[in-house]
């Protein structure tokens, strides 16, 4: 094939390939009535484009889902075992104060309605029990050293970012920080 023909052929196949790969097909325009342009339906956005409605909707984070789950604990309609609003508020406060960079817990609740949460990682196991009066207790065990830490009767206001990093970093590195 001579170079010019090859060039034309290549450009044609390239454009055809591009057309075939293009996610958009241009809308076909039909002129049935002079001056009236009818567009056939525009293809729906492909997965290469996000519809504006999806972009506008707020993302539901995993933390949001946990907060919703905690709220369910107060719904007596679904389950007559309810947790007190006070305990729910304490659990919510802890969850909201948990800083980014630390893993989220799994929520739990016993048959008496007592709320708890726990973490399980290669480095450690840790759990929190919510108690009346906006109080919580904390337990952790390093899977590396076997060392345990238990702290009782903490006011929920003690659960700051600094406290969380001090006591939950064991989940990441298996090392209990200095008490």
């Amino acid at each position: 094939m001579d170079p010019v023909t090859l060039l034309v052929f290549t450009s044609l196949t390239a454009s055809a390939a591009v057309t075939a790969r293009s996610p958009w097909s241009a809308p076909r325009i039909e002129e049935k009535t002079p001056g009236l342009v009818i567009f056939q339906s525009i293809p729906a956005p492909t997965n290469l484009l996000v519809a504006p409605a999806v972009v506008a909707a707020p993302l539901v984070t995993l933390k949001d889902r946990l907060l919703t789950e905690i709220q369910q604990f107060s719904l007596g309609a679904a389950d007559p075992v309810v947790s007190t609003h006070e305990d729910i508020a304490t659990a919510e406060a802890i969850l909201k104060a948990l800083p980014a960079g630390l893993p989220l817990p799994v929520l739990m609740r016993n048959d008496n309605g007592q709320i708890g949460m726990y973490w399980d990682s290669e480095g450690a196991y840790a759990d929190i029990n919510i108690e009346p009066g906006h109080i919580f207790s904390f337990f952790s065990r390093s899977r590396v050293s076997g060392q345990e830490r238990f702290i009782d009767a903490l006011q929920v206001t003690a659960f700051t970012s600094a406290w969380a990093f001090d006591n939950l970093s064991v989940l990441v590195d298996g090392q209990l920080a200095a008490a």
Partner: protein
């Protein structure tokens, strides 16, 4: 002097029977493990036996379905954690007992979310018996052959140590670790048995 069988006969139906065990010393509780708790059981539970714990409460399963949440072991501190001695039953009977238990619960608790048998967690008896308290190394759990007319394989895991909060959380975490990764669903992911 009261023996193991006397205790369990006297505490049949007692939802706090494990609390009563905690009034006794470790030596007595350990000695009782070598005495049968029930005339309807095939004999004492030996260390090598595998125990299955029914999973009927959906709130006891972790989101990944590889572990039981720590709250799943709550019964060990009061009424006794019901388990089944695999050596003295079979899969079909285990499933039937579990389903019956779930149905009985649903009838008795119509206002609560319904339960169904999801599957089982498994433990080796000696691993349960090896769990000790963190501060002083006392044995935490004792396993008794509490077979009954409906289920000869039944065994109770009872917390025998009256511990402080740290102890409670520590030994509970140990049970959690034992159960993790041992879950056996009744149905596969695709719904096949």
């Amino acid at each position: 002097m009261m023996g193991c069988k006397d205790f369990f006969e006297a505490n049949e139906g007692n939802l706090q029977k494990c609390k009563n065990l905690q009034d006794l010393d470790e030596a007595t509780l350990a000695r009782w493990e070598a005495e049968s708790a029930s005339d309807l059981s095939p004999g004492v539970v030996n260390d090598e036996e595998v125990l299955f714990q029914q999973i009927v409460d959906p709130t006891h399963l972790d989101p990944q379905r590889i572990a039981l949440k720590p709250t799943a072991f709550q019964d060990s501190a009061n009424k006794g954690l019901s388990t089944h001695r695999v050596a003295f039953t079979n899969w079909d009977d285990l499933v039937a007992v579990g389903q019956r238990r779930a149905e009985q619960y649903n009838v008795a608790n119509p206002d609560r979310p319904p339960r169904s048998l999801w599957g089982f967690a498994s433990f080796r008896t000696k691993d349960v018996r090896r769990i000790t308290t963190p501060q002083d190394g006392r044995r935490a759990y004792f396993v008794y052959d509490t077979g009954n007319e409906n289920d000869r394989s039944h065994a109770d895991v009872c917390q025998g140590v009256a511990g402080d909060k740290h102890t409670e959380r520590s030994i509970r975490a140990s049970l959690y670790d034992l159960a993790k990764g041992s879950l056996l669903p009744v149905l596969a992911e695709n719904g096949d048995p």
